[in-house]
């Protein structure tokens, strides 16, 4: 049993594939443990295709842990262990037969702090495609990815300068361009705007809304206005007395923010605690 998705340059959408379920990715009874201590427990969450799903919750509730469970980035943390299932295109990505490299190639990630490679702007975008066996025209791919990330006009004359010469907001958009250059199905974003100023944040948010036409986006954010502004769905996580995170409520953003079913969600959203 293996995730079998052909690499198709030019196909920019994450159309549902044959045999895939209704959802882009689905967590079932997901528990993540660090050194046998659970960080999140029993999460059940089905992410809609081509929508932006925001994960919100107080500090330490395991938002990032949940996000990283979607592309097996927790594998890189010593002592991390996962129970339950994450279904992607009908396959449990934690099945022993699944290669995490293949998972990450289809589920990209953008991190909290912009972390471009200390290489040229061009190389930052091209590298991921190259190592994944891209055979098409690299210049075209780089231009297309940078255009999609709304960065092309700012950098088209200095593609071969160091990526580190860009501003923080530009660097983050470069990281997004880098992630979409390998045509993932899903993009995970871990507080992508928390290190940026309000103007750069706004650009990233506009970009996310554009990208949602083609990609499924899951974003972790501390900023409730941001979640309300950009996301279609919102998942609210809380932390219990043992400091283990759990899912309180999940639904359309409009409903979560205007008419939450759970008292705890309402308290958190209205700023009464957290």
């Amino acid at each position: 049993m293996n995730v079998k998705i052909a690499f198709q340059p030019g196909v920019r959408t994450s159309e549902p594939l044959a045999g895939a379920g209704k959802y882009a990715i689905e967590a079932r009874n997901l528990t993540v443990l660090y050194h046998d201590r659970p960080a999140i427990r029993d999460i059940n969450l089905a992410i809609e295709r081509q929508r932006i799903t925001a994960i919100i919750g107080p500090s330490g509730c395991g938002k990032s842990t949940l996000l990283r469970a979607f592309n097996r980035m927790n594998d890189l943390i010593p002592g991390a262990r996962v129970e339950g299932e994450v279904l992607f295109e009908g396959v449990n990505i934690y099945d022993p037969s699944v290669d995490p490299v293949q998972v990450r190639r289809h589920i990209g990630m953008v991190f909290q702090r912009p972390n471009p490679f200390p290489k040229s702007i061009y190389e930052n975008v091209a590298w991921g495609a190259r190592i994944n066996g891209y055979r098409g025209n690299m210049d075209e791919l780089v231009e297309q990815s940078l255009r999609q990330a709304a960065l092309w006009d700012e950098v088209k004359d200095k593609l071969h300068q160091s990526a580190l010469s860009l501003s923080g907001g530009q660097q983050q958009r470069l990281c997004i361009a880098r992630a979409i250059a390998i045509k993932p199905q899903i993009i995970l974003m871990d507080e992508p705007a928390s290190a940026l100023d309000p103007i750069a944040t706004l650009k990233i948010e506009e970009l996310m809304i554009d990208l949602a036409e083609h990609y499924t986006i899951i974003i972790v954010t501390h900023n409730m206005q941001q979640a309300a502004r950009v996301s279609h769905y919102t998942a609210f996580l809380m932390v219990d007395e043992q400091r283990v995170g759990y899912l309180v409520e999940y639904g359309p953003t409009a409903q979560i923010f205007t008419n939450p079913r759970d008292k705890r969600t309402e308290d958190y959203i209205t700023g009464r605690f957290g």
């Binding site: 293949q102 990209g108 991190f111 972390n115 190592i131 010469s165």
Partner: protein
């Protein structure tokens, strides 16, 4: 609610008193640090003074046969035939036959014959040397002393560090001795050391940082590497003697490869020395490379994995290029250490007296520090001057190796920063 702390808990007048006390302590500490720096500089200057003082100075020369007695004009202007006549008259028949055997006198140029006359007939000999400072400030006294004690001698200013010193092989006569064999020996040895310890050390560092999990076995390995870095070098010499010189003699002497040099015939070769020094610097290279690899931000690794890179792609494309400047710095320091090492090479069996240049990994060898050590232990004063001059050569060699490595490192760093 806790009680309000009264403002009188910070009494004003006591604060002023304390403040001047605090500033006094700060000034005092600054002075201590300054003094220790000055002390270090003084020690360094003393060292330089000592070496330079012995490397230059007046020497009293004496001829066995005064050149004036041989011809009516300066020897170097004499025609070829005259020089040959002098040689035939003054040199014993035995020596003459040997010289003819090496190359017939007629076939030699005028310069070659002049050198032969100087070496075989005139035989200039240094009878006494003075240090640079004495030569400058006590010149009058020295001239009197020479006139009194060595009436035939004449006084010349000599730089012991000269072109001839750099290009001549070792000799038992101080005025002819040079460091060519030692320089070549040092370079050959260090080359073997780098080839052996750099790939091995960086490889081990990659394993320990990127692959090894945090378990008791790897922790023991790590602790041992840290401890090995502090083992006295003479112990590495014993190890090298037992393993490379004795146990692996067929390999280190080159017999296995059919490349043994006739004069060697045992394991005391450049290869053994290089491998021994390689073992000595291996822990240093590993530890420094580990530091450099650890300093590569984790965010880069995550970015790479996030794009679907494998572990090796992450290491090769991101970790190593970013760690390279640090790895090179550590390697430079280790190589400097290897060049200056003496004790293990004495044990491994560096030759104290060879006049033949090392020509490959299976040659007998000597190195600069061994040469310096050997010269300082000679009774004659002149060899001390040679040792000082050789020290300058060693330091210049070290500094130039360091400088080239620093350049290399900066180029690597520029490539990363783009």
């Amino acid at each position: 609610m806790t009680a309000q702390i009264p403002s009188s808990a910070f009494p004003e007048e006591q604060f002023a008193e304390n403040l001047s006390q605090r500033h006094r302590t700060a000034r005092w500490m600054a002075a201590v640090f300054q003094i220790s720096t000055v002390f270090g500089i003084i020690v360094l200057l003393t060292l330089l003074y000592n070496i330079i003082n012995s490397s230059f100075g007046l020497v009293a020369w004496q001829y066995r046969v005064p050149p004036e007695s041989l011809a009516g004009m300066p020897l170097e202007e004499l025609p070829k035939e005259e020089l040959m006549r002098i040689l035939q008259e003054r040199v014993s028949a035995n020596v003459l036959r040997r010289l003819e055997g090496e190359k017939p006198l007629e076939a030699r140029s005028q310069e070659e014959l002049y050198a032969l006359v100087m070496e075989r007939v005139v035989q200039p000999k240094i009878v006494k040397t003075w240090s640079l400072v004495d030569s400058i400030f006590r010149r009058g006294e020295i001239m009197q002393e020479v006139a009194r004690d060595y009436p035939d001698a004449y006084l010349r200013f000599r730089s012991w560090l000269n072109a001839r010193f750099l290009t001549s092989p070792q000799s038992s006569r101080p005025e002819l001795a040079g460091v060519r064999t030692a320089i070549l020996g040092s370079l050959w040895t260090v080359l073997i050391t780098i080839l052996f310890s750099f790939p091995l050390g960086v490889g081990a560092a990659i394993y320990l940082e990127e692959y090894a999990s945090d378990n008791w076995l790897n922790r023991i390995i790590q602790t041992n590497i840290n401890n090995l870095a502090g083992v006295p070098s003479i112990i590495y010499g014993m190890l090298g003697l037992a393993i490379f010189v004795r146990a692996m003699e067929p390999i280190t002497s080159g017999i296995w490869f059919g490349a043994a040099e006739p004069a060697t015939a045992n394991g005391r070769t450049v290869l053994s020395a290089g491998l021994t020094l390689g073992l000595l610097v291996l822990p240093l290279i590993i530890i420094n490379a580990q530091e450099a690899i650890r300093a590569v931000p984790n965010s880069l690794r995550q970015a790479s994995y996030g794009l679907g890179a494998t572990k090796w792609q992450t290491i090769w494309h991101h970790v190593l290029p970013n760690a390279l400047p640090g790895i090179l710095t550590g390697t430079i320091l280790s190589i400097s250490r290897a060049i200056g090492e003496t004790a293990p090479l004495v044990v491994v069996g560096a030759s104290t007296f060879i006049t033949v240049d090392p020509s490959g990994p299976f040659s007998k060898f000597t190195t600069l520090p061994i040469q310096i050590y050997q010269w300082t232990s000679r009774p004659q004063d002149e060899f001390r001057n040679l040792a000082a001059a050789a020290s300058i050569v060693l330091m210049v060699l070290l500094l130039s190796l360091n400088a080239s490595a620093v350049l290399l490192r900066q180029r690597a760093r520029r490539r990363i920063r783009g």
